[in-house]
């Protein structure tokens, strides 16, 4: 056999691994719930509302207003992912960063495989889009905490900025809690920088978070940030979580 054939043989019979019988009843139950959510989303999110959602996302990121809380827009309809067959379910707002690269804007949004189990399935996605329609979303980074506890108070899914295929990505993540400011320290200059924040909601009223990201400049190396900290409206430091 050639090396490639040996590799194929090994991959089809990896020693020490035996596939387990999967719980197809659970699979179909969870898949059915996802399908119903998508139908609901398709029924409530027209193309117009999707466009409005993206505009609304941009408004949410504008933190030049009062500092005593994030300006929260009306709850947006969840967006369907039916068009992009490979994408999991997008849930909640799609946040525009206002930063473009190669004609596409960086966006942040939440995906989940099970809207009823955000604690164990919520992922935060950094993507790019040219048109703002969901079938045009190009995924760059999918970030989530391992295991459950993804809706516990504190920071989650934090990804440092980096150069990815020649593109500068922001430092981003989400915070569960009533933060009025999220800051970090530039490890080089020592300067404290403040994150942009956007409110995010799931289906349930209790399912709230803030998607945040820090300023970054395309074409320049990402800034090395440390000491990520959240504060309430009184300036008191909030739990960072695990």
């Amino acid at each position: 056999m050639t090396g490639l054939e040996e590799l194929k043989d090994a991959m089809h019979s990896p020693p020490g691994f035996e596939p387990a019988p999967l719980d197809l009843e659970h699979v179909m139950s969870a898949g059915g719930r996802m399908r119903r959510r998508r139908r609901f989303a398709v029924g409530t999110a027209s193309a117009l509302s999707v466009a409005a959602l993206l505009i609304g996302g941009g408004q949410l990121t504008d933190l030049d207003g009062p500092a005593d809380g994030i300006p929260v827009a009306d709850r947006s309809a969840p967006m369907p992912s039916a068009v992009n067959s490979s994408a999991p379910g997008v849930l909640g707002v799609v946040v525009e960063t206002g930063q473009f690269v190669d004609g596409r804007q960086w966006i942040l949004y939440v995906e989940t495989t099970d809207p009823d189990d955000l604690d164990g399935t919520l992922s935060l996605v950094l993507g790019r889009t040219r048109t703002g329609t969901i079938d045009d979303f190009k995924i760059a980074i999918v970030s989530h905490d391992p295991g459950a506890g993804r809706m516990n108070p504190g920071f989650h899914a934090v990804e440092a900025g980096r150069l990815l295929d020649g593109r500068t990505t922001p430092t981003f993540g989400y915070y569960v809690g009533d933060a009025a400011r999220i800051t970090a320290r530039d490890a080089v200059t020592g300067k404290t920088v403040e994150a942009h924040r956007a409110a995010w909601k799931g289906f349930a009223e209790s399912e709230k978070a803030q998607i945040f990201w820090f300023d970054f400049t395309q074409g320049r190396p990402p800034v090395n940030l440390t000491d990520l900290t959240a504060y309430d409206k009184n300036g008191t430091e909030l739990p960072a979580g695990r």
């Binding site: 020693p15 596939p19 999967l22 699979v27 998508r38 994408a87 999991p88």
Partner: protein, 173 residues
């Protein structure tokens, strides 16, 4: 049970083992593999009406690859090497199992992105064009990743043969 459900059960039953193996190759963790394969099937079922008459297996493969995409960005089980080792001398392999184990270990020395391309190309036999589309990479990038990964694997395979330990070789018996 509806006809579509029966079809899905047949599909899931037939494909779950292969999906789990692929997930194991991608994650290196049996529990994550089981979870990833199950999650992929959840998504396939959610989209069953659209994909059942197309290519549900390709859809499942795409979903699975995307599920573990975040592994590209995480340090877990990543031992990527950027420089290829020197061409090794050939060695005999003691037995097929130890060689397979050795190859799977060698697979883990790849970067997650190289590993994903290898699994899609040579486990699922997906074309370069399909891999590029499914991973949102250019065809050139896929080709490059595949070539580099194969080069690493071939050389790695020859460099470190699965030496028998005393226990495995039954020394003293």
């Amino acid at each position: 049970m509806a006809r579509g459900d029966e079809d899905f059960v047949a599909f899931a039953t037939a494909s779950s083992a292969r999906l789990q193996r692929a997930a194991y190759l991608l994650t290196g963790d049996p529990h994550q593999a089981e979870e990833a394969a199950q999650t992929a099937l959840v998504r396939v079922y959610a989209a069953w009406g659209r994909v059942r008459h197309k290519d549900p297996y390709a859809y499942a493969r795409t979903v699975l690859a995307n599920l573990v995409t975040d592994q590209w960005r995480r340090p877990m089980r990543e031992y990527a090497i950027e420089t290829m080792p020197e061409q090794p001398a050939p060695h005999d392999v003691a037995d097929a199992v130890s060689k397979r184990r050795w190859l799977i270990d060698a697979l883990r020395t790849l970067s997650p992105r190289e590993r994903t391309v290898i699994v899609l190309r040579h486990f699922f036999d997906a074309s370069e064009a399909d891999v590029a589309r499914e991973l949102n990479l250019s065809a050139g990038t896929v080709k490059s990743l595949n070539s580099r990964a194969l080069a690493k694997l071939r050389i790695t395979v020859g460099l470190m043969p699965p030496l028998r330990t005393e226990t495995e070789a039954g020394v003293g018996r």
